[in-house]
């Protein structure tokens, strides 16, 4: 019996549009809690008919928070369409630099601008200060660091993609510019500062997790499978790799799967109450096959990180759970800051590579009809799959965006926190924010997640006084 419904709408300090509904029974116990994705736009269908070379610029309008991820995943797929399996070193490294710049800006934005108020002021702090402006007033140095780290990442994107948001750098078969010496030197000048700030941010996230371990272990946490790309030698690689999925205990479900055949391994379930689908590992089925993606999953799945400071941070992270996967939802923040440091280390490595000043930008090959592009976006594995006909027009597109893969986990986190903190309580704004804190751990990009498709039926029902439907119209 449901006696009361609470709605959190809109979910705030996340990117995109979502809402939470919580149903309470007559004893005030939570009987159901759900995160609904309420927006629906429609890219897969409406890019059909568009020319393939337009796709990397078009699809990034899915998401202005990590446009580079869509830009590059689509470009990787279109490399396949133009028959290119290996880019020139300059093109590959420019794209990687763009991607690590993106990871840096996105992780900094999430940690400093969106999440830090919860960690610094407490989950039930006053709404008036529980935001980045409150942080800027109370901890101005920290706020400035967040702003400047994001800016550095955005400037890298501008130097590689031409524009901070919705750039045009990656083109099928390569890239359209290299990095000038002047641009490179500008970035090198501030690099040590970025490294230092990344270490400090990592320390905040780590200390927070360790200090609050007891509470966090039971805060929307649960065992799950984890999925990500890893390099052939098992290293973390955010730009390219093969698919690996592991169980809650770290056993491999599959490993080193060529992502061109991703659709044999992953399926997406449709449910009536959300526009976002629910992906799962096919061989395990929809009940048991759901998995997590993103920083937590990546740190859990990889065998090692190929940059020294991030690797020692990873070892420390894994030691907490005796080398087994960490399944604590709030540990996402710690894992994310390990990746932030990794991104800066990678940027350093790339900036010192003279291939970035090369002039061989494009390769051509034999045209193909179908191709898949994957990468590890800030929020997790991103899948782009296209078919293109002989007129250069897209005929099929299938996109599984990172946040979609975390749909089941976010719902479990919401339900777990709601049951633990709201049942039998007088519901306050601060308590409700606990639910949002659990959602924010996943850094969901609901903007991306709602790409699914254009129009839904607009149905008008006419009811009589007994509630029976007497007439129904739909249009489309």
């Amino acid at each position: 019996m449901t006696t009361r419904k609470i709605t959190i709408e809109p979910v705030s300090r996340v990117e995109g549009h979502g809402k939470v509904t919580i149903l309470l029974d007559e004893e005030g116990q939570v009987s159901q809690a759900r995160l609904h994705i309420v927006e629906f736009r429609g890219f897969e269908r409406f890019i059909q008919g568009r020319p393939y070379w337009e796709v990397p610029v078009l699809v990034q309008r899915l998401c202005g928070i990590c446009p580079v991820s869509h830009h590059l995943a689509a470009a990787k797929a279109m490399d396949g369409i133009v028959g290119v399996d290996q880019l020139t070193p300059t093109a590959e490294k420019m794209r990687r630099l763009m991607h690590y710049g993106q990871t840096l800006q996105s992780h900094a934005l999430h940690f400093f601008h969106l999440v830090s108020p919860d960690l610094l002021f407490g989950f039930d702090a006053d709404v008036a200060i529980r935001n980045v402006i409150g942080v800027a007033q109370k901890f101005p140095d920290l706020a400035v660091q967040g702003v400047m780290m994001r800016k550095y990442g955005q400037e890298i994107i501008k130097a590689t993609a031409g524009k901070k948001i919705h750039g045009t750098g990656a083109v099928p078969g390569g890239i359209n510019k290299n990095l000038s010496i002047a641009e490179r030197d500008g970035f090198l000048k501030d690099l040590d500062q970025m490294l230092e700030w990344s270490r400090a941010a990592l320390k905040i996230a780590k200390d927070y997790t360790v200090e609050h371990l007891e509470t966090l272990a039971d805060f929307g946490s649960f065992d799950s499978n984890h999925l990500s790309l890893v390099r052939e030698d098992g290293a973390m690689d955010l730009y390219h790799g093969n698919l690996r999925a592991i169980t809650k205990d770290g056993d491999k479900i599959f490993d080193q799967v060529d992502y061109q055949s991703y659709y044999k391994y992953i399926a997406e379930e449709v449910r009536s109450w959300s526009y976002m689908k629910f992906p799962f590992i096919s061989e395990l089925g929809p009940e048991d096959g759901w998995y997590r993606v993103g920083p937590l999953a990546r740190v859990n799945t990889c065998d090692f990180i190929d940059t020294p400071e991030a690797e020692s941070a990873r070892q420390e992270f894994m030691a907490l759970t005796n080398g087994k996967p960490n399944n604590i939802t709030m540990a996402y923040h710690w894992a994310r800051m390990i990746e932030l440091l990794h991104a800066v280390e990678k940027i350093k490595e790339l900036l010192n590579d003279s291939d970035l000043q090369g002039s061989d930008l494009m390769v051509k090959g034999e045209r193909r009809g179908e191709s898949v592009g994957l990468l590890e976006a800030p929020r997790g594995t991103l899948f782009h799959h296209y078919k293109v006909d002989e007129n250069d027009q897209v005929t099929m597109a299938n996109l599984i965006v990172s946040t979609t893969s975390n749909n089941v986990p976010m719902n479990l986190a919401v339900e777990g926190v709601a049951k633990k903190y709201l049942s039998g309580m007088e519901i306050t704004e601060g308590l409700l924010n606990h639910v949002e804190v659990a959602i924010r751990a996943y850094d969901p990009c609901l903007s991306c997640a709602t790409h699914a498709l254009g129009q839904m039926p607009l149905v008008v029902e006419l009811h009589d006084s007994q509630g029976n439907i007497v007439d129904q119209r739909s249009r489309g």
């Binding site: 996340v14 759900r34 409406f46 934005l109 800027a136 799962f280 903007s447 129009q455 839904m456």
Partner: protein, 181 residues
């Protein structure tokens, strides 16, 4: 008198316009000296709490919820600004406007390569808003006072417009700040 309040929202947009707003970088510290933020995705104020001097709207309207939010902004903001191509013209989401309904549903929830839908479900629930027949730019729904083009408008463009409005100067944007991409 308190500082003027600014509210911001994203309707059928990609958040890129908001990200561009954050690209004002350090100037955000100056901005918070000038204004207080009301409802915005960067804080937890879920509905406009007081009269606002300026409302910034990203994205057009694609569902009933977008329309309600846009009404809330029009009613409570002295100056309402459409920022970005989606808000001013509908933008990329309008590509769906000419596609038959059935094709869209089938593609998303039935025919997609990885779709698993044995019960043939289409999302439909009182908790998710109905979509409009088309995506509409904001000025076709309410009166809009200023339009800032671009996908997204640059941080400098937003900064110039906002500071002019907040200091009662005329909004005169040089040619370089107006880009329609």
């Amino acid at each position: 008198m308190g500082k003027p309040r600014v509210a911001t929202t994203s309707l059928a947009g990609c958040f890129g316009c908001h990200m561009s707003f954050l690209d004002i970088d350090e100037r955000i510290l100056d901005l918070i000296e000038l204004v207080d933020f009301d409802r915005s995705p960067i804080d937890d104020i879920k509905h406009i709490s007081q009269r606002c001097a300026i409302g910034l709207v990203e994205g057009g309207c694609c569902n009933e919820e977008n329309v309600h939010v846009l009404y809330e902004f029009r009613e409570n903001c002295d100056i309402l600004i459409s920022f970005g191509d989606c808000a001013t013209m509908g933008g990329i989401p309008t590509l769906r406007n000419n596609i038959p309904l059935k094709e869209c549903i089938d593609e998303a929830y039935r025919d997609g390569v990885t779709v698993y839908n044995p019960k043939n479900i289409v999302p439909q629930d009182p908790e998710i808003p109905l979509l409009l027949d088309k995506v509409y730019p904001c000025h076709e729904v309410v009166k809009i006072d200023y339009f800032l083009p671009g996908c997204p408008p640059s941080a400098d463009c937003l900064w110039a417009a906002l500071t002019a409005l907040l200091t009662d100067k005329p909004v005169e944007l040089p040619y370089e700040l107006l880009k329609y991409d």
